[in-house]
């Protein structure tokens, strides 16, 4: 179950974590050891076994479609990293070069 440093770097990118070079080096053998341990699930003959995603078999839980007050905007924005004019202020989402 070899996992290369490049694969780790790709996982970090997919996970949106800008890991340092030292972190990538440390993580590669650790992830490899964990994957080696969890790969044991393959030993179980389960071709015809249905998967379980949830312990309680509930489907389509509905509630009445009624309006109710939302949280006060000021309370919510009080926990935001940055806010402006009653909204979350975020870094640019478009590349200026495009």
């Amino acid at each position: 179950m070899a996992i290369t440093r490049d694969e780790v770097a790709n996982l970090a990118r997919l996970s949106r974590m800008s890991l340092s070079s030292a972190e990538l080096d440390a993580l590669a053998p650790q992830l490899e050891a964990i994957l080696g341990a969890v790969a044991r699930v393959a030993e179980v003959a389960a071709a015809d076994i249905p998967p379980t995603s949830h312990a309680v078999p509930l489907t389509n839980v509905f509630r009445a479609d009624v309006t109710r007050p939302s949280l006060p905007v000021a309370d919510v924005l009080a926990g935001a990293p940055a806010a402006e004019e009653g909204r979350f202020r975020v870094p640019r989402i478009l590349d200026p070069e495009e």
Binding site: V8, L11, A12, R13, L14, S15, R16, M17, S18, L19, S20, E23, A26, L27, Q30, L31, A33, I34, L35, A37, V38, A39, R40, V41, A42, E43, V44, A46, I49, P50, P51, T52, S53, H54, A55, V56, L58, V61, R63, L71, P72, D75, V76, A78, G79, A80, P81, A82, F88, V90, P91, R92, I93, L94, D95
Partner: protein, 517 residues
Amino acid sequence: MKGTRLHMTDVSGISTPVESARTDDVVRLTAAATAAAIAAGELSAEEATLAALDRIAKVDDAVHAFLHVDAEGALATARAVDARRAAGERLGPLAGVPLALKDVFTARGMPTTCGSRILEGWRPPYDATVVSRLRAADVVILGKVNMDEFAMGSSTENSAYGPTRNPWDLTRIPGGSSGGSAAAVAAFEAPLSIGTDTGGSIRQPAAVCGLVGVKPTYGGVSRYGLVAFSSSLDQAGPITRTVADAALLHAAIAGHDPLDSTSVELPVPPVVEAAARRDIRGMRVGVVRELAGEGYDPGVQAAFDAAVAELAGLGAEVVEVSCPHFTYAMAAYYLIAPSECSSNLARFDAMRFGLRAGDDGRAGAEEVMSRTRDVGFGAEVKRRVMLGTYALSSGYYDAYYGQAQKVRTLISRDFAAAYEQADVLVSPTTPTPAFPIGDKVDDPVAMYLSDLCTIPSNLAGGPAMSLPSGLVAGLPVGIQIMAPAFADDRLYLVGGALEAALDARRGHALLDEAPTL
């Protein structure tokens, strides 16, 4: 309370006269005894709260259970309870009793960090349902207690705010992820705590701190306001010093909640009544064959065997059952839980709450997100997010996540077959007592073995309890009792009877042997 003679009733109904109003005596009362003394006017809620706050001031530098103490809020709640009692109102069974809340629940007026830098200083704008119910029950919330970051860990060493120490031996781990909860209760900082259990995070710390810990049936307690780690496995429950206290707290927080769509519309099992019954004659107790053997400390096994013999002595019929797929539970869990966490933790994107790092006015949102998650998450969270991302990747999905879900089905079937032969199942709670702090930080797989016995109940959804079974070289270990889904009362029936028998044989509660801090 000074100078008065108090009669405090403990859970076994024995009246204990207390001559002086010393903090040491008050903090050692069970929750049931504290509430009874408050209801009888022998103790005020304010005194009980001040005693707990004094105790925290005295021992928490050494234990480091608390991340935040809300003295003002706690005293305000306590005084309101006292005022209502003075006005002749009837109080609930936990009114005025102090509680330590795991820092994974949102509660207004306090920070919620989940043991992570990424939420440092964040104050949630709403109460979790568990918190609303505690407030409605007039429980006094002392503050927030430490945990492994986002509940990922078995030692509380993964907290960004430093490790919590085991009150039995300050060089050892208190278990995790609810290590702050267990340490606070074992150090007599609070008689009650709420923890959460995704793979054993209530039961394992309870076991290694000499306490009672219960993971209720999945869907029994609302997850609204419980910051999600692995949504199909997470469940909140009590950590206490006695089975009766656990039952009172369980009853206070359980029940259907329309705000959690996985919460189940069924009546709460009669846990309080079951805890007091103490008659298990004719009950069938199944010893799980696979949860023993290699890797299990001989002392843990001996304490477990003695507890099982005690159950037989109480008239239970002990049988051996086999759950062959339990040996794959850990592997399945470490695919399912990381997969769910990689999705759940995507919400920590530096945009709406918590930390934002590297926002220099030039970096774009994705760059800021990636920088924030690098500095905001600790090593274990990063490992699990990446492991989950890997297991869910196209090309690997069927072999890892898909196969783990099938193993989950087989584990549920093993439980169902075992419950044909037994009313409850038992095993040791953990393979070993508490290990020294630092021992397993660099070996994730060794750390994961702490949850070998507890994981199957999370995967199948049934309830489970850990109860102190004895000491191994001066360190507490536990016996785990498991029951079918929605039969939580069976845990309390068997646990209540076993606790009474073990206490009687010992001549005192196990926690009486803990060192005085």
